[in-house]
Structure formats: C-alpha cells, structure tokens
Symmetry: C2
Subunit: 225 residues, 2 copies
DNA sequence: TGTACATCAGTGAACGCGCGTTCACTGATGTAC
DNA sequence: TGTACATCAGTGAACGCGCGTTCACTGATGTAC
C-alpha cells in the first residue's frame, strides 16, 4: 500500500494541502454552517435531519457520511467550534486587559458584543446546553465548567476578592456565568435591529454583575476550607 | 339541536361530570403524562412525535385529535400545568412565611426540594425555555417574567432592600431567578440517588443567593429613577 | 515532463420505516320524552 | 322507569412523504515511476 500523501500534508497549517483536501474542508464547513443556519429561529438541533443539512449545504445526503458518522458527531464539532470562539475571546481579554475604571461594566459590554457578533455559535450553546443529545449536552456542560474555572482563576488576584477561598470563587464565577448566559439568551431572542432593547439588556446585565461584585466585596469564606 | 349536557356539567368542580367526561379527562392526562415521561432523559419536546405520545398514552394516534389540535397545543397545556405547579408553591410560601432566621437558605431549600418533587414539570420548563417552538418558548418566557415580577414584589418590603427602586428590584429578582434556574438544571441532571451531590448543589445555590443578598444590602439605586 | 494507476469526495437510485393526518366506523354514554 | 335517538371518545386502515442508510458508480485529483 502506498502513502496517501506526504506526511506534512496531513496538518493543514504546514503544507499546501492540495486541491482535494481544500475542497473537502470547504464542504465540511458548508455542512456545519448549514446546521447553524437551520438552528437560527426556533429549530432545535435534535429536530434537524441529516437530509435537510445536506440540502442546505448543497450536497447529496450520502456525501454527509464522508465528513461525519451522523448528526451527533456534527453536533460535537459545533461544540468545539463554538467554544473555540469563546476561548479566543477570553484569551484576547486576558492579553489586553481593560483599565480598572468601570472594569465590570466594560467586561459585560465586551462579552455581549462578542455574543452578538457570534450569534449562531452562542445560540447553539444556549439551546443545546439544556436540550441536546446526551453527548453534546455533556460536552457543553464540561466546557462551561472549564470556563467557570478559568474565570475563577482570573478573579482570584483582585484585592477586593481576598475574602474568597477556591470553592467560593468558583461559586461566584458560576453566578457570573449564569448571569451572562441569561443576558445572552435575552440578546439572542431580541430583535437584532432594536438598539434600545439591546441597550436595555446590556444595562441590566451590567447592573446584575455590579450587584454580584458588591456582595463579593463583603464576602468572607468560612476559614475552615 | 338539543343541549349536550346540563349547564353545570361543563364545570367539573360543580357537578358529577359524567362517566364520559371523566374518561375523556383521564385520556387527556395520559397524553400529557406520556409527553413528560418521554421528555425525561435526553429527548426534547420538538423531537417527540404525536404517534409516540399516543402510543405511550395507550391510545390510537387519531384519538390524539379529540384532545389537542397537534403537539404544539399539548405543549402549551404543559406550560400551563408546569407554572400552575410553580405558582402553587409561591402561594404556599407566601401564606406560611418562613421565620426570618436563615430565610434565604431555607427558601432555596424549599424551592429546590419542590423542583425535585416536580421533576418532570421543571425539566420541561428548563428545556423548552430555550429550545421550544416559538409559541411554547414565548409562553414560558412570559411566565418567567411574571414570576420575576412577583418575586420583586415579595422582596420590596424587606428593610435591607430599601436602597432599591422598582426597576432595580426586578433586576435583582432576575438574578435570583437565573441562579435558581441554574441550580434547578444541575439538580435535574444529577443522579437522583446521589444525596451528596444534591446536597452540594443545594449548598452552592444557597451561597449564591446569600452573595446576591449581601450585595443587595449595599445597593443604592440612582435616585433619578 | 508524461503516463498509468490509485484514491476518494460526491452522485443518484433504492430500501424499508415511522411520520401526521383523513376517514368511515363502533359502541358506550347521555338525553328527551 | 323504558324506549328511541343523539353524541362523541376511541378505532383501524389508508395515504403520501421525508427520513437515515446502503450501494455501485464517476470523474477529478494525487502519486509512482
């Protein structure tokens, strides 16, 4: 048996990749995008059919199997892509930290604008977090826990949060994540052109986070743990 | 045309209702219960088929139409039933108020135990809140807004919350509702027999609410509004 | 470079299946008198 | 109370349809020499 391709062609970032591979990746992306587009509006992922997705991607149903074993595997890929997007944002925020003035309000603003810009991915996360198939749902929960932990780590150095032990920091981070996901759901449901409504939601989320941080400044973790 | 029945037979609480009506109500309930049972686990409402529901209810598919015009109408009925359950609890809590000591912690406990006891209804709300059909989703959002407003009204008299105007009280109530829904989702996903895990979630939710109330005691609404 | 062969993404037809909905029906229950 | 008729919840068969999956295939791209 001969080698399919040179070793380096396997890893796209290090080789010309070839016409065939490039086309294959394009079709794969068309399938993922098709699913996200069908999810926009009131559909849920579990109600999408493989044939629908293939049709919107402009490909025959059987071609789907060249890329995924079934809809569930496609769903897992969407989870990866969606959280890749989220982690990118977190990394960006960490490498170019905001000035401390209005830090909370500006962080909320940054996050919600990002959610609006990546509407389809965030919509997918919000929906499938609670109603997806077991594997997709568990993958999303795992990522959200990871995100909560990262947030807790980022919060730890703040002088006003000296009163927290590790467990309680994660408790607080969970509250923040819940509040942000809640605001994200409102944003995703709002009319995209209703600037006043969007501003109202941003303000609501900012106040909720400020309320949390106001409480946090008073918090004293039990010294025992 | 003759009258179908005596006038009083229309309203079940005031009349013997008749054998036929009673059986019809029993079948209707069997259909609603069948949907809730099928939803337990990883199914989502929009992935249920009318035939499946009819089968679990022990009835032929065509009989479904004697009770609902389609799955969406059945979904709306589930929304009504689920929130009826929730409002009952709120009314109970209001008529037999807890003593002020550990008020927050005890309220969380009461709520989460209620959610565990009405597992299927709360699961339905949690799932369809984000991923249901348009009408079901909007009905759930409306009920959650109503619940938030009621909670804001209940919170208003507390001396420590003097610093709040009406808008900010709803903002805080929204944060509380978000946190409770988050904890409910964890509870619904947890193994029902894992007492330690359930206790851990209860404790987490209690701390989150105490953090919110700690912040609330410091809050000053802008006097302008 | 040119040639002969291998690979494989995408095609198009076919399959059996469960779906929502319709229909004429049955027979127990309800009502008028 | 008894009878004759009306109502209507539930039945069972039928329909056309989109579903997931399989299969042998095609033809452009890739590889060996």
């Amino acid at each position: 048996m001969r080698l399919k391709r040179t070793a380096s062609a396997e890893t796209p970032e290090s080789a010309p990749a070839g016409v065939r591979d490039e086309r294959k990746q394009r079709t794969r992306k068309a399938l993922l995008d098709a699913a996200l587009i069908l999810l926009d509006g009131e559909r849920s992922f579990s109600s999408l059919s493989l044939r629908e997705v293939a049709k919107v991607a402009g490909v025959v149903p059987a071609a789907f199997y060249r890329h995924f074993t079934g809809m569930d595997e496609l769903g897992m890929s969407l989870v990866d892509d969606s959280f890749h997007t989220l982690h990118q944002m977190m990394r960006g925020a960490r490498s170019a930290p905001l000035p401390p003035a209005n830090l909370v309000a500006r962080s909320v603003e940054t996050f919600l604008l990002y959610a609006q810009a990546h509407r389809l991915h965030f919509q997918f996360i919000a929906k499938e977090r609670v109603s997806g198939s077991s594997s997709v749902r568990l993958a999303i929960r795992k990522e959200l826990r990871l995100w909560t932990s990262e947030l807790a780590t980022d919060l730890a150095p703040f002088p006003k949060l000296k009163g927290f032990n590790g467990d309680d920091l994660r408790m607080m981070a969970g509250l923040v994540v819940n509040a942000m996901m809640g605001a994200t759901e409102l944003i995703l449901d709002a009319d995209i052109n209703d600037a006043a409504e969007l501003a109202r939601i941003h303000q609501l989320a900012q106040k909720q986070l400020m309320l949390i941080f106001l409480g946090a400044a008073q918090w004293k973790s039990k010294p025992a743990q």
